[in-house]
Symmetry: C4
Subunit: 271 residues, 4 copies
């Protein structure tokens, strides 16, 4: 096969590089196939749909074959990319790149299951990781980069809020355990149980499977849920402030020069 | 009838154009009628009010007649608007405009019900769509435009957060299913059931109809509800940042003048 | 009594005017008395504390007498204020000022109860309104003004979000009623019941007293709770943006003049 | 022992001062020991792990001995710090510094338990307070300072929101008590019980242990949970605005120069 065919295959499988019609069709088809795969895994577990089980197996087999062909094509055409140009080393290097590993992980469980009869259905969920590839598309590139840089740029503040939240949960769980355990020994049976209750309360999920009944427990819970709301406002505020900052950065021109006289209007561009 | 009558009718039915007293009265009356209609539909379903059913039917009939007259008047006077000036084509064009279709949809179910005896009470809710007209009033124009441009301008970031939220829900549902299904086969009966649980947990609604009982399930749930709060802070931050941006835009003077030469520096006024 | 005594009484009862030691003591005492009053009303309803009922009545009587004396002193000394300087008209005018009415409302229920034996205990809660007076203290003046101007300045946007939230609740309630009523006729018995469920779900309270069980109901609920979180991010964003604006405003000097050369640095002071 | 040894010990125990390898190892070891201590206290309460109780006691004893040695070393080396240089007075002064008191409080309960057989296991949680020391590390210094100055700088606004939230809770609890008590005398048994319900509803935890059943109660609850969300947006907005302000401050250059004369315009750099 000529280098041109390899180049075409490479371009079709990497929609972020070319802008032809075929790469969109091929990639759209693969994305839809992944979605259908996930839906099939979800539906397989519904008892009333067990009679369709044979069809599900056929669909799974067909889609794994398609994914395998796609994987082999990617591997073969990877040497077109200058980064992986070496015949053997380049392809090995490609095989251990993140996206190639995800692709492999998405098909391997099927073959393991066939050979060793291990039930690894859960791993089909790993096919969802293939969606990460989507964020390499230009349309989402900028948004994904902003979201990532917000979380990375505010990592210290977010870690601090996480520590505060964990503190609140541990303190809430322990104090309520000591207060509620004598009153409800089977419900608040241990501190780990009380910690579970604390997480569900502080995040305001509130299942209602564990509810304090003593006056002291209720007062502590009231305080904790109010403090919890204040502490959870912290990461929200940090993320919002981070967004504003990132947006400003991506808008600021390299230098704030007056286009008429050429002099800088202000140096920082923040003011 | 003279053109003047048509013009008057047109102005009265379009309060965003004129500022006479009558258009406010007529439109206020129609808004109150829609509200009463919705309230009647809501009250009709209360078992203890079934004895008032005949009155409800009379009210419904009367209001549909009023809406029909209003619709016909709008259709007739539409040719006053230069956009729909043609006698036949203009009116047909008006009939297929969004607001005219909403008006039609608000009265059609009644006639279909009368002729075919189909129970379409749910469609009465479509009359609520007529409230959209309210946002064309000048008082709300600016606010509605800001809200819309926030959602439109940040569409990519919001879509990204939606994808992250869906990821979290699917991963949460699947892992908790595989952990909790053996312990509670009737509660976590299938992945769709677990997905329902995941949505209710991640949004922090927490009905308590499905609660994990295994240690692994509780640890996963704790992690997921904490991650959920961080991910939900994302759209909140995006919307807040968008608001600030939109407000800044609407406030900035027409031109930012360079303090050195007095000429405009940049047109957007963001710097 | 001399004018000086009246002036002193007036100053002591209006801590926002003078900065003497006595006005702080008198007002602190009245604030503590109101707090104790509210606590007594709360404790009176606890069955296990019914034996202390006579003490509660004594405390209530004593505090009403103190409030009455305070009210009469305020009324008498009101003529010291130039606004209410007229002997009769001034005092009548003062009696109908907001704070004076609140003071009257705080003591009147007691006398009505004594004379007509009407149980108006709930009205004791109106004494809480007297706390509004606190916000006239200089320490909270600025904060209270900022909070109020945020809500007033963004009224249109907030009203719009409220309309969107009400729309979501009505649409959620109606659709889930039509889906769930056949499956759970006693739980989702009517649209008003479904609206109650919708409010509790959309606000993410999630009591769990009404939970959809049909597949359609669960899908609709999932969509609604996700949309709900997005819509509730709206008022949060509006309020945050409003705060930032108000804070900026309160910081901006009257004119941004360079203190050295006297020329304006920028006109709007926003940039 | 020479002054140098004391200096070395002091530096090793204060990782925020020196940047040697040993201080990181020693402090990392102490942090891990504290974490293990907390985990042991948590696991001690799990009934199925009671057979490991002797091991837990051994671990607790060993770690208290290590903490005691550390405390004594800190006390001995404290005189190296010029602040506590005096032989006796300096050490006494150090003993009553916040961090030293926390260290003492972390070990004292063990000895009290040994001597007086008082069960003070809860106080082991006080060892968590030792984590506060972490925030003195340079990596978190800036973040911690920003978070603190947000809460301190907005104290008045946050207090005001707290007052509004407490008002809402008291008013919600009282009105719902008067409405629901006749319908559910055992559930809404007293106003304190109704206040507990109000906190759990307003914070959107919603356990479902107390749910209004009357129409009036449901309408009031709906209003309150909607108002609650608006009021809770207040502190979130305040904190976000505060963050933005603090970040701006830490970014602004030392002086804002006037573009006309080149001299600094204002010192704070806020404009």
């Amino acid at each position: 096969m000529s280098q041109t065919t390899k180049g075409k295959v490479h371009t079709i499988l990497h929609p972020e590089l070319g802008f032809t019609k075929w790469d969109k069709i091929v990639n759209g088809f693969i994305i839809i196939l992944i979605c259908l795969n996930v839906i099939v895994v979800i539906l397989e577990t519904v008892p009333s749909l067990h009679l369709y089980h044979p069809y599900f197996i056929v669909f799974d087999t067909v889609s794994v074959i398609i994914f395998t062909i796609e994987y082999l094509l990617r591997l073969w055409s990877s040497s077109y990319d200058p980064k992986y140009s070496h015949k053997v080393h380049g392809r090995l290097k490609y095989m251990f790149s993140m996206y190639a590993l995800i692709d492999l992980v998405a098909i391997l469980p099927f073959y393991i299951h066939e050979i060793y009869s291990l039930d690894l259905r859960l791993l089909v969920m790993l096919r969802l990781l293939r969606f990460l590839r989507l964020f390499r598309l230009t349309a989402y590139m900028k948004s994904a980069r902003i979201v990532r840089s917000v979380f990375v740029g505010r990592a210290n503040e977010l870690k601090l809020s996480l520590v505060l939240i964990l503190f609140l949960i541990v303190i809430a769980g322990c104090t309520v355990y000591f207060v509620e355990h004598p009153a409800q020994p089977t419900v608040f049976s241990s501190i780990p149980a009380a910690l579970w209750w604390a997480v569900i309360t502080v995040t305001s999920v509130g299942y209602g499977d564990m509810v304090p009944i003593t006056a002291a427990g209720k007062i502590i819970t009231s305080l904790i849920s109010l403090i919890g709301l204040a502490i959870f406002a912290l990461p929200a505020g940090i993320i919002t402030a981070g967004f504003l900052d990132e947006m400003k950065k991506s808008k600021v021109p390299d230098a704030n020069l007056c286009p008429h006289c050429g002099k800088p209007v202000n140096k920082t561009g923040i003011i």
